[in-house]
C-alpha cells in the first residue's frame, strides 16, 4: 500500500477513535433535555477538513454514526436511524459549505451548515415517525440550541487546528 494511503487510513482510524471518545464524553455531560445533544463527536470530523480528502470525510462520518451505534448498543434502534440520517445530512452539508466557501469559510461556518442540515433531517424524521405535527413545537428549541452549540464547536475546532502541535504535524492529504 502506498505511504500516503497508509497515512490516510491511519488518520481515519485515529479520528474515528477520537469521535468515539468525544461521544463517550458527551454522554457524561448532563443535558437540559435528554434527546438534545451538543455534538462533541463532530469535532474530529471538523478537524478532518484540510487533512483528509472528501471521500475519507464521508467514511469518517459513517464510522462515527456506526461506532456510536455499536458502542451504545443502539445499532438497530431508532436512535441509530436518527443519528445516521442526521450525520449523513450534516456530512453532505459540511462538504458542500467547504466546497462552496473554499478558504473564505472557517470550521465555524462548516459546523453551522452541518448542524442545520442535521437538525432539519432529524426533525423531519420526528414529524414522520414519532410526534407528528407536534414536532413543530420542538423545532425552535432544537434549531436554536443547534446553532449555538455548532458555533461553539466550530470555534473550538478552529482553535484546536491552529494551536495543536499534533494537528500541525499532520501532512495535508492530496
Amino acid at each position: 500500500m502506498p505511504a500516503e494511503r497508509d497515512d490516510s487510513v491511519k488518520l481515519l482510524a485515529f479520528l474515528s477513535a477520537l469521535c468515539l471518545f468525544m461521544s463517550t464524553l458527551e454522554y457524561a455531560i448532563p443535558k437540559p433535555l435528554p434527546f438534545l445533544r451538543i455534538g462533541l463527536a463532530n469535532a474530529p470530523i471538523l478537524l478532518a477538513f484540510g487533512k483528509l480528502p472528501p471521500r475519507r470525510i464521508v467514511q469518517l462520518s459513517a464510522l462515527k454514526a456506526l461506532l456510536q451505534g455499536f458502542v451504545s448498543g443502539t445499532f438497530l434502534s431508532y436512535v441509530f436511524v436518527f443519528s445516521a440520517a442526521g450525520t449523513a445530512a450534516a456530512c453532505g452539508a459540511m462538504l458542500f459549505v467547504a466546497w462552496i466557501g473554499g478558504d473564505r469559510v472557517s470550521r465555524v461556518g462548516i459546523s453551522l451548515g452541518g448542524a442545520l442540515a442535521s437538525n432539519a433531517v432529524q426533525l423531519l424524521l420526528s414529524r414522520l415517525f414519532l410526534f407528528g405535527a407536534g414536532t413543530a413545537y420542538l423545532a425552535p428549541i432544537v434549531f436554536g440550541l443547534g446553532i449555538v452549540s455548532s458555533l461553539l464547536l466550530g470555534a473550538v475546532a478552529e482553535q484546536a487546528a491552529t494551536q495543536s502541535l499534533w494537528y500541525r504535524s499532520l501532512g495535508v492529504e492530496p
Partner: protein, 216 residues
C-alpha cells in the same frame, strides 16, 4: 452469530403490520435480551411505548372508545401508537441482542475496526492530570503520543489482529462463540413467519367488533 440473526430479524420486525404481533415480538426480544445481555430496564421501554401511544391518541383514527373532555380516544389511533412504540422499544432490545464487545467482523473491515478500538482504548487510558494545569496542552500531548508512538501499541494487539485474519482466511468464517444454533435460527426466522401471519391477523378494531357481535 447473534449479530447476524438479529440483523436478519430486523426488517421483518420493523415492517410487521399487526400491533398485537409487534407487541408480542417486542416482549420476546426483551426476554432474549435479558437472557443474553443481563440486566433489563423495563420502565424506560414501558414509558416510551405509553408516551408514543398517548401522542398518537391526539390524532383520532377509527372508532371512538372513550373521551377525555372534548378529545375522542380512538381504537385506530391507539393501535397505531402502540405499534410504533412497540417497534421502537423492540428495536432497542434487538440492538442489545445484536451488539456486544465480543463482536468480530471479518477481513479488512474487522482489522480496521480493531485498530479504531485499540486507539480508543489508548486515548481513554492515557493519564490526564487536571490539577497540574494546562489541560489543553496535556490533551494535545496525549493525542500526539498515542498517534505517533508505535511503542504504545502492545504486541498482543498486533498478534490478535494477525490471529483474527489467519482464522478468517483458514475457515472462511468468523470464529464464533458457542450459541445454540437452533435458537439463533428461530430468532432470525420467526419474525418472518409472523410477518406473513400479520397480514391476516385482525386489527384491534376488528377484534372489538367481533367481540361485540358475539354478545347476546
Amino acid at each position: 452469530m447473534l449479530f447476524w440473526a438479529a440483523l436478519a430479524a430486523y426488517p421483518a420486525f420493523v415492517f410487521q403490520p399487526s400491533a398485537i404481533l409487534v407487541l408480542g415480538e417486542a416482549v420476546a426480544f426483551c426476554v432474549i435480551a435479558k437472557r443474553v445481555r443481563g440486566r433489563l430496564r423495563i420502565l424506560p421501554a414501558v414509558a416510551m411505548v405509553a408516551g408514543i401511544a398517548l401522542f398518537n391518541l391526539l390524532a383520532p383514527v377509527g372508532r371512538v372508545f372513550a373521551r377525555i373532555g372534548e378529545v375522542p380516544l380512538t381504537i385506530g389511533a391507539l393501535e397505531l401508537g402502540l405499534r410504533k412504540g412497540a417497534i421502537l422499544a423492540g428495536m432497542v432490545q434487538l440492538s442489545r441482542i445484536a451488539v456486544s464487545r465480543d463482536l468480530r467482523l471479518p477481513g479488512k473491515t474487522g482489522s480496521f475496526l480493531a485498530k479504531v478500538f485499540h486507539y480508543f482504548d489508548l486515548i481513554t487510558a492515557f493519564p490526564i492530570k487536571p490539577k497540574e494545569g494546562n489541560l489543553i496542552a496535556q490533551i494535545d500531548d496525549a493525542i500526539m503520543r498515542v498517534y505517533n508512538d508505535e511503542a504504545l501499541c502492545p504486541k498482543p494487539d498486533a498478534q490478535r489482529l494477525e490471529g483474527l485474519e489467519k482464522d478468517t482466511q483458514a475457515t472462511g468464517v468468523i470464529p464464533i462463540q458457542t450459541r445454540p444454533r437452533i435458537a439463533l435460527f428461530l430468532l432470525a426466522v420467526i419474525p418472518w413467519a409472523l410477518l406473513l401471519l400479520g397480514r391476516i391477523t385482525p386489527s384491534l378494531e376488528e377484534l372489538l367488533r367481533s367481540a361485540e357481535s358475539l354478545r347476546p
